[in-house]
Symmetry: C2
Subunit: 182 residues, 2 copies
Amino acid sequence: MTNSKKKTIAIDMDGVIADTAAQFIHWYQKQYGVSLERTVFDGKPEADALPDGAAGKFVRSQGFFRTIPVMPGAQNAMQQLMKHFEVYIVSAAMEFPLSLSEKYEWIREHFPFIEWRHIIFCGDKSVIDTDYMIDDHIRNLDCCKGKTILFTAGHNLGIDRHMRVNNWDDILTFLQKELQTV
Amino acid sequence: MTNSKKKTIAIDMDGVIADTAAQFIHWYQKQYGVSLERTVFDGKPEADALPDGAAGKFVRSQGFFRTIPVMPGAQNAMQQLMKHFEVYIVSAAMEFPLSLSEKYEWIREHFPFIEWRHIIFCGDKSVIDTDYMIDDHIRNLDCCKGKTILFTAGHNLGIDRHMRVNNWDDILTFLQKELQTV
């Protein structure tokens, strides 16, 4: 199953391979007729970013997680990484039980090359042990025993206790360097 | 969230807190009108235990995982363990995607005291890092970095490379001793 020679990477879904901010803005426009800028998320928790508590309603609505756009560059980058790493998709899906089957179907559609053995839906990520963890939430990275990579999102701007990447090209650049130093 | 002073335990669902063998026998009786003995599982993979490949059909049928009986003693024992350990339910649910929501609802019904942060649905368990792992499948225990506890099931009889328990009383007895030696 697992090639023990390869290092392991836990890769988050929302905000990392799924462009959840774009989906929030799209659903807000669709339901309220108002176009928000992406900067609406800057410096505040995601749950508080949209007016009227809309974010909390959206994540509990059927279809929200199933139709999130893929983060640009994620599909190609994941395939590149799989040549050299054991890549796991690790999503904190338990908070929104409706999301379980939607997230599974979304992965099957957009990342069919990730086999089911490498998908993990969890609550907190404190018992996940991988060599690398890529996440936009510091609460997940803070308890990670491996090397941590913070994927930039509005809600994590200004935080400097994890290595930051701004896009999937940054991730490939960093991990290619890691391969050379191992 | 997690009290770092408590040791962590990963507890499997099928064959450990859910009496999956009893459910197989019950469904076989219901669909084929034949009462099988529990010994039908002895010494062979679960998938091959029932005639006509019935096991493989059942695990892909709606309602199978939702209605499995609880393993005797599991509810009370889990509540006892939670006083001294961080208890995680860790189930290899990804092989049967239909089971995701059914397993979640089953946990909510029978183990409502396990909060969502402590539920993990995965494929393989190789990146799960807990101090203890209780499982009936050696493939999960073999890659565990912590102490392993093999819950007796027909398919694992005769295997002696993990500490064996036969029921939830055995688990409580062992883990109570562990608490005294820490």
